[in-house]
């Protein structure tokens, strides 16, 4: 019970006892002992004035201060009162400390619990929210970034009240939840792939999806952030696909594009098919089971998917660029100069120069064509390099490329003679539909996208290289070049390119080597001996002087496959060495 309900006597006794605790070394102190005795036995012992003031009651009875008993111990009273006041102060401080510690504990509890408003504040730092009536709605569309897609993209923030306060709060508990529109649930991506043309047109519209693992969210990110980001990605993919399909239908091209369900199919090159599809997988279990068959994602071109995202963002930025904004409220969205097209009577040429020429689909098709052409060129060069050992073909690809152009430097050399025979160096510029070849001697040749053209060209260059190599070798060895032709008009006609030929004579003039090399017919080497070394020459009366026997006579073919040496130039060097006696 409270202090006031206790009988006065016991109260006095208590106070009296505490006041009479021995304060001096002598115990019991004669002074204090006497005070205690008087206090405990006398019913009329006065209650200390302090307590009576606190309780708001005056003591019932008792001698007034200043009575003979208390006058005897003024220090005691002082001590008692001091102690009481200190205790009171201590009590206040303790209560305050208790309150502080309680609030600190509460804060920590709050941090763990995360109440609704603080969570809402966190959400507001990332997403735009507005209050409509009693609902809190947010905007996850790209409209404020310049998109013109008509989807509303609003999500609703709801309080998560299904929590049982008695049970322990789970670790990932979040007091608020976001409700995204039902058509943006799950995850989506745009699959771009180049395949051989499908023989059966009935296969359209059944794109094999592969379940792409969701991009890992940051470890500290709350679940609503991942949910909203995924929904925003779905919206962007939908916008990209809508733009692509609109252009596929509207823009006239030579080979029309096919738009079926969630797939757009177009033909960049004959026999080839580019398919762009929107793969949207919702999170429910039914679709997960269906997509469990793992399709290999190897033909998906990640680069083009990334480029699609970049292009649509660029398109968004254009609507907010300085040429569009600011604009008068009455003017439609468009380029500033287009507003002047009417009053300044622009004709069709002027108008078309202002408008963007290419749409998203055209750009992505051009990029796909370029990627395909580049891959095929690389494959052609590599297959030639692995198939043919002599001469060797080297390709140095440039690091820095454009989306529509890449370049490669092709060198044709003979092993061991790289310093001598380096006359065939080709710079290939791979464009969207053509390959431009710049030769070292300045010729510029344009090849089409056909694989065979490039292969034939490289084979003809390789054959020419052999003959050029002979020319360079002759210089080194001291032999004289008698004739040299890149395109020989004699002999069997080659189906790829032309045959080249060279004739070189030894330093002493005794011997001559004639080489004819064609891409298809291979190499033919003939040696011309001096007449005196030929045994089967018919004797005649025309030549009367024996000095004419030192001239070069008939040609004899060399069995080149039996010749020693690992490549053509080496063999020829050995032949030259053999024919120049020291």
């Amino acid at each position: 019970g409270s202090a006031s309900s206790r009988p006065a006597r016991s109260r006095c006794r208590r106070w009296g006892w505490t006041a009479a605790r021995p304060t001096c070394s002598r115990s019991p102190c004669p002074r204090t002992w006497r005070a205690w005795r008087s206090a405990s036995t006398s019913a009329r012992a006065p209650a200390p004035r302090r307590t009576s003031r606190r309780l708001g009651r005056r003591p019932a009875t008792g001698p007034r201060p200043g009575t003979p008993r208390t006058r005897r111990n003024p220090q005691t009273l002082q001590l008692i009162s001091k102690k009481k006041s200190l205790a009171g102060a201590a009590q206040i401080l303790l209560k305050g400390a208790e309150r502080l510690s309680k609030s600190v504990a509460e804060n920590q509890e709050n941090k763990r619990q995360r109440d609704f408003n603080s969570e809402l504040l966190r959400l507001r730092q990332h997403w735009k929210l507005r209050k409509v009536g009693d609902k809190i709605l947010g905007d996850l569309s790209y409209r404020s970034a310049g998109s013109l897609f008509p989807h509303h993209g609003t999500f609703e923030v709801i309080k998560n009240t299904d929590i049982d306060l008695d049970k322990k709060i789970p670790e990932d508990y979040c007091p608020l939840d976001v409700q995204i529109p039902s058509d943006l649930e799950g995850s989506a991506y745009i699959k771009v792939s180049i395949q051989k043309q499908a023989p059966d047109i009935g296969d359209l519209g059944t794109v094999n999806l592969f379940k792409r693992p969701l991009p890992k969210s940051k470890p500290g990110a709350p679940h609503w952030q991942t949910k909203l980001e995924a929904a925003q990605n779905v919206l962007l993919c939908k916008e990209i696909f809508a733009q692509l399909s609109r252009e596929a239908v509207q823009i006239k091209s030579q080979i029309p594009h096919i738009v079926v369900k969630n797939q757009i199919i177009s033909q960049p090159f004959p026999g080839l098919q580019l398919s762009i599809s929107l793969c949207h997988s919702s999170n429910d279990k039914k679709s997960q089971k269906a997509a469990s068959e793992k399709q290999s994602p190897e033909d998906h071109l990640y680069v083009l998917e990334h480029n699609l995202h970049q292009l649509i963002r660029e398109f968004h930025k254009q609507t907010l660029s300085s040429t569009m904004m600011p604009h008068p409220a009455s003017a439609p969205f468009g380029h500033k100069r287009m507003r002047m097209a009417g009053p300044q009577a622009f004709d069709k040429n002027d108008i078309s120069s202002l408008q963007p020429n290419e749409g998203l689909l055209e750009k992505i098709i051009k990029q796909a064509k370029h990627i395909f052409l580049r891959r095929r060129t690389a494959r052609t060069i590599d297959s030639l390099a692995s198939r043919i050992e002599d001469p060797q073909i080297q390709a140095h690809w440039s690091n820095i490329n454009d989306v529509y152009e890449s370049s490669v430097k092709v060198l044709i050399t003979s092993q061991g003679y790289e310093q001598i025979c380096k006359s065939i160096q080709l710079q290939l510029n791979i464009g969207v539909e053509q390959i431009r070849v710049v030769h070292r001697d300045g010729r510029v040749i344009t090849l089409s996208h056909q694989e065979q053209e490039l292969q034939d060209f490289l084979l003809s260059q390789m054959s020419q290289h052999q003959v050029h190599a002979v020319q360079q070798l002759a210089k080194v060895m001291g032999w004289h070049v008698l004739s040299f032709s890149n395109h020989v008009g004699l002999g069997p006609v080659e189906s790829i390119g032309n045959a080249s030929a060279i004739t070189v004579a030894s330093p002493g003039g005794d011997y001559a080597i004639s080489v004819r090399n064609g891409p298809e017919s291979g190499s033919k080497v003939m040696v011309q001996f001096p007449r005196c070394q030929c045994k089967d020459l018919p004797k005649s009366d025309v030549l009367q002087d024996s000095k004419w026997n030192h001239l070069r006579g008939p040609f004899r073919e060399v069995q080149w496959n039996k010749m020693e040496g690992r490549n053509f130039v080496y063999k020829l060097e050995l032949l030259m060495a053999a024919l120049t006696p020291c």
């Binding site: 287009m338 507003r339 009417g342 009053p343 300044q344 009577a345 004709d347 069709k348």
Partner: protein, 223 residues
Amino acid sequence: MRLLNLFCCFLVFYDSVSQMPVAEGKSVQQTVEILTRKLELLGAEKQGTFCVDCETYHTAASTMGNQGQAGKLMYVMHNSEYPLSCFALFENGPCLIADANFDVLMVKLKGFFQNAKANKIESRGTRYQYCDFLVKVGTVTMGPSARGISVEVEYCPCVVANDCWNLLMEFMQSFMGSHTPGIPSMFGNKHDSIYSPGDTMAQYMELFNKIRKQQQVSVAGIR
């Protein structure tokens, strides 16, 4: 069709619009075909179609202060060559080049300008390009009937009067023969000014007015 007189209203500097008389015994369409065949033989390539139309507006009588004063006529024209523009002209007055929304504005100004719908006249035909020249041969129709032929010849590189009307004349002679028009009447002293699309429309307006007057005269003649 009767033989119509030749009217010359051409802007030689940059562009010349003239009316081609219809050959005797032939219809408008046949004459157009003769012309286009001549052009194609010359080597011009066809580049689509063109259309120039003209609507007439009267200033409403209620707005006129003096009752005796005749209402002014305003012509609102469109040219497919300048697809986003609209031209508004008064007879001898200024020419306004405006945005395509001008038509909507005219609807709102119904109280002040009334559309004379029966007077709508247009010229439609094919557009040929021959190197630096653009030739447009069109049939002028008012309502359902064809009233004449208009030929527009444009020399693209030049914008100043005096410099090229001789060249233009020579070119026109090559396919129009004897029907080549003479010096333009509109630009008597403005030979050295820079040409503008408004001048083309002014020429068309004159041409259309002449054709309109012609028909009225001929109709009156029958009666």
